[in-house]
Symmetry: D2
Subunit: 379 residues, 4 copies
Amino acid sequence: MTGNLTYAMIGGGKDAFIGEVHRKVIALDNSATLVAGALSSTPVRSLESAKALGLPQDRSYGSWQELIEKETSRDDCVDFVVIVTPNNTHFPIAKACLEAGLNVVLDKPMTCTSDEARQLGHLANDKDLLCAVTYTYSGYPMIREAAELVRTGRLGTIRRVEMNYIQGWLAQDLESSGHKQASWRVDPKQAGAGGALGDIGTHAEHLVAFVTGLEIESLSAELTCFGAGRVLDDDAMIRVRFAGGAKGSYNASQICIGDENRITLSVHGDRGSLWWAHETPNDLKLATLDDGTKFLTRGQAGLSERAAAAARTPPGHAEGYLEAFANIYRGVAELLNAKKLGTPIGPLGQDVPGPEAGLVGMQFVERVVASAANDGAWT
Amino acid sequence: MTGNLTYAMIGGGKDAFIGEVHRKVIALDNSATLVAGALSSTPVRSLESAKALGLPQDRSYGSWQELIEKETSRDDCVDFVVIVTPNNTHFPIAKACLEAGLNVVLDKPMTCTSDEARQLGHLANDKDLLCAVTYTYSGYPMIREAAELVRTGRLGTIRRVEMNYIQGWLAQDLESSGHKQASWRVDPKQAGAGGALGDIGTHAEHLVAFVTGLEIESLSAELTCFGAGRVLDDDAMIRVRFAGGAKGSYNASQICIGDENRITLSVHGDRGSLWWAHETPNDLKLATLDDGTKFLTRGQAGLSERAAAAARTPPGHAEGYLEAFANIYRGVAELLNAKKLGTPIGPLGQDVPGPEAGLVGMQFVERVVASAANDGAWT
Amino acid sequence: MTGNLTYAMIGGGKDAFIGEVHRKVIALDNSATLVAGALSSTPVRSLESAKALGLPQDRSYGSWQELIEKETSRDDCVDFVVIVTPNNTHFPIAKACLEAGLNVVLDKPMTCTSDEARQLGHLANDKDLLCAVTYTYSGYPMIREAAELVRTGRLGTIRRVEMNYIQGWLAQDLESSGHKQASWRVDPKQAGAGGALGDIGTHAEHLVAFVTGLEIESLSAELTCFGAGRVLDDDAMIRVRFAGGAKGSYNASQICIGDENRITLSVHGDRGSLWWAHETPNDLKLATLDDGTKFLTRGQAGLSERAAAAARTPPGHAEGYLEAFANIYRGVAELLNAKKLGTPIGPLGQDVPGPEAGLVGMQFVERVVASAANDGAWT
Amino acid sequence: MTGNLTYAMIGGGKDAFIGEVHRKVIALDNSATLVAGALSSTPVRSLESAKALGLPQDRSYGSWQELIEKETSRDDCVDFVVIVTPNNTHFPIAKACLEAGLNVVLDKPMTCTSDEARQLGHLANDKDLLCAVTYTYSGYPMIREAAELVRTGRLGTIRRVEMNYIQGWLAQDLESSGHKQASWRVDPKQAGAGGALGDIGTHAEHLVAFVTGLEIESLSAELTCFGAGRVLDDDAMIRVRFAGGAKGSYNASQICIGDENRITLSVHGDRGSLWWAHETPNDLKLATLDDGTKFLTRGQAGLSERAAAAARTPPGHAEGYLEAFANIYRGVAELLNAKKLGTPIGPLGQDVPGPEAGLVGMQFVERVVASAANDGAWT
């Protein structure tokens, strides 16, 4: 790790949750150093947060507009900008950053519409800039091993995918009592067209796409809103037909009491199957016609280079959510260092989700909403 | 257990699989004694099988017609008949038995059409005869506890059900090589309109109905036939809308290599959730808003009378598939002894699946097939 | 299964627990038919119990002495006698049976002293009679697979064994309140020299011996009596040195609240390891230097003949404690039919624990008690 | 987190494993900033490593002696020194640091003898300096919850402890082929008197002490050296008598093929039990007489302040080994900031293992070695 990259953060001030997570995981591997920020939606709170984080005063900005303007005029301009604002502001901020020549990293879902995502993708492409989307779960080493097993044909032709992302924290009405994380997620103005769909359904979509490489041809969806008074879905049941004939069943729900983050994925081909569960993220079960059922574990000898690159510690030393997240940023650093220093891009860099992945996510949301609005018709 | 009941078996001869299972589980608890049989489709093989089982010669019959005729003319006529023939012969045999005044126990799926199931139900009802359907999985003690937890409101109003019944044994083409179990299951003439749907999807449907008591209002289904040359589905993905607003997602598949019998059920209400998995059938996980997440186990103190009645051994002494199956027959014995001896009907008797359950199963198959044929339209 | 064998039971009357278990598991596979009994310690209760079980009047005996005398004078004398009386009466009853020429099956621990066990073994040997001991847990198919993996060298030379048998039901004082199962177990007169040691420690010892074939060279033990007022141990911690240099750590306890029957075994050789847990008895984990970590399951293709013979249902259909127990009796039937009919002895018959296994168990109890009394000195 | 603390590292250069881990986990939470180092045993390699890490040239030292001398003469001297050198050099380096007035953090085992550990403890005490020992596993949030459950009496009086720490990576001879991690661990000159005992047995000892607060009164041990040609144990089996009457069984082994880091702890009292396993470190199972068996998870509402303070992310977002490790350093930062800034010491600071814990660990090693040398006599 060269450790010479710098970054700015937009959003992620004192009361935010996910900004702190981004900072931690960037620091874990010394992927980059935070040197600038416009951390909140008002100048006063932005500066307070910047002070609390110990940012230099001259790089503590009152607004993201100011940040873009001033950073791009510095010789030591940051190498990239992390945008961790509410979903509905991703697009204007990222657009302005890219137009100003700044690499960006966005939290998912990338934008509020696929059109916005497409624009950002084009912009990044035209300007040869990074526009990464932090789909955390694809950062798990055993998810990367899973993707490699599929890619190298160990499962044969994929036939069937089962994907569940189940939570319970919105089983009750938290939003009325001022719970910040709940409030913006149930508000279509801030969250976009999908509730559970946008929040966790997009993770589900990406995990399947990342592992299988399959393209969704059409889908049929049922969205439900169990919480009284809610406008957005808190439960999604989706059937998918992939190009090539495979089928998928996706479930995403936030109303299942006692399920904290039950993410399970199974992929079944005509030569073998694999199963992964977020509750034991360092394990991967693999069954093949040739070789029976095996237990693969993070860090063990014999895994693919992709999985090995994503691990830090010996087998048996549980790595978790933060490490998976940090792998995205290790990849971002590889990509930016490649440009800056000409260093090689390794497996981590190649696995950074780009704007195409973000776009597919937005299209997924839109197609699901459209199908659900049409009583589950295939779209 | 009084042990005085007797039964005859139709089907279940030497090469059959499930007939032997029925005999074992009836014997386990001495629920009844096998005294007569028409065990195969030809007289010669029937008599051979009867001899191998040590049946008395005068009650070893060459055909089911002969069995019905001769048994009903004996003073010591059997108390009930177990019908374990291919699906397509369930109806004529059961109809003839009931018309002759014989109680019957049928393997599931009950018949080939809902119309047939309805007829058998009416007949049984009119004649006050037993017409039980052996939905094995509802015989697990912790499934009965689950049903009781829902019934008594521990989960509040049910919102969401997830049900998976996943196998892998038909991932490859077994039927071409003369595998008996595979061959009849993929043949619509013998298996009926559903492949995986009829074979295991009906178990899935019944488990949900048994545990939740919910009625399916409409459903939307996708059936797939992954095996080359197959006519019937080997994979089903079904979304369900229950009366009252709950939703369900069912998956049944027989092409998932490495999955032997992965049956998982979760039920989520507005006050709590429960999870059960066939791989650890003696456990039940329960989460409620009031009391956190608990582990309930078969045999432990504090379970409902229904669950307690279905267990034989202390907690920690794994009971499995055969014991679950045997619980159906302990219930059958309770019902028949109640009629015969006036003994009380306990929880086991009350939980015997009757012709209504069989009918719902057939309707499920037909609705799924209809929806799938109509591109997943709600039926 | 020929189903022509008959047996008598001594003990196992109305209030007993384990006698009913023996009857169920013999019936499950039709291994033999119960035709005679002296079911309780008083004539009145013996006859009551016999009547409740529907035994013929002329074979319902008031005492075990009467049973032996009358059965052995019948032409259709039972093929074997199942003795399920308290531990302290095993010896005199079994001795009398063997002397009278009757095959016996005994619950474990076989006797109260190794001397008694040795005598029974000699007697059985001299008279060429069966003297089987029902070490249930060795009846699990995957335990038999484990034994076969060790025997065929898949693990290389065994180095280390970990064995835990942990229960919690004696964490509180049940014996004072008249709990029958608790009362005799804590009474040295009925239970012998070992408390938890005799009750479950002997199972632990046998499981290790069965799977590894290793002989205990010396052992060092700590016995503790946590329950106030108890005379016998309710907790045992034992270190073992096996002939050949392997080491073992055994724990047996009955005071661990919440542990219902936590039996775990791991065996580690210089080429591989295996792990088995009673909570998922149909699974066996195997790791070898050559082939990574594999998941073997009961019923699947590719297991040894020993494991296959011990299974009844396809993979994924949980078999449990009763089926394991029943496998002992299927083996007993094989052995007795071999003598009676000249039929071949299969793997089940070869795996029936005989008097040698029972003797080793008694020696184990005595050595542990001696070591513990000597502050853990190696014996 | 104030983020103003600075630290130096001694050891942990380019080829080292654990130094990098310390740096990562300090960075994760911004507990302190690395500003100085003497990273290797030769000046050349030290400076190379310092350069690779981007340390300022004037604080890149060629030896630990130079580091101590120069840092203590700076106004901006580091707040603490992290010592991650081989075990046998812990003592002289830590002693020199403490004598020079520097706070130290040591990897475990603290020293090579208990005498050395005692000296360091006295020195730290006399000078009011920090001398922390990084027992990583006590940093897991659910281990802290376990400790709190015991401390507050939820389990009643503790009776029995089972502790296993099992690895397999030394099942084969790695040391002969130049494997660095293996080589020093099997060398008594570098590793001290214990092999597996010192490396992982000390973790086991500390975990039990941390969770139960029990003091070892005497112990009886068996050490084995399975690897051909090894001098130090690679396997330890230890029985413990605690002050107050509780008993313990500890196993530590490094020759169990397929076990990567199988750490399991169960604690059994007269009112309840708890179980924790490193393979699912975010879970804790708790059974009490009053409330049945519950599943507690990291991050969920209702846990103790100690457990809550040790978590960063919502429940269901797996935290692992690095986060547990980082918790030790968050505690170190709390303690040092308390001294420096007068900020309050929270639960993390109170849970930092100090020199007493390190001393107990060394005494444990010595007592085990002594008992094993005396054929397992109680010491």
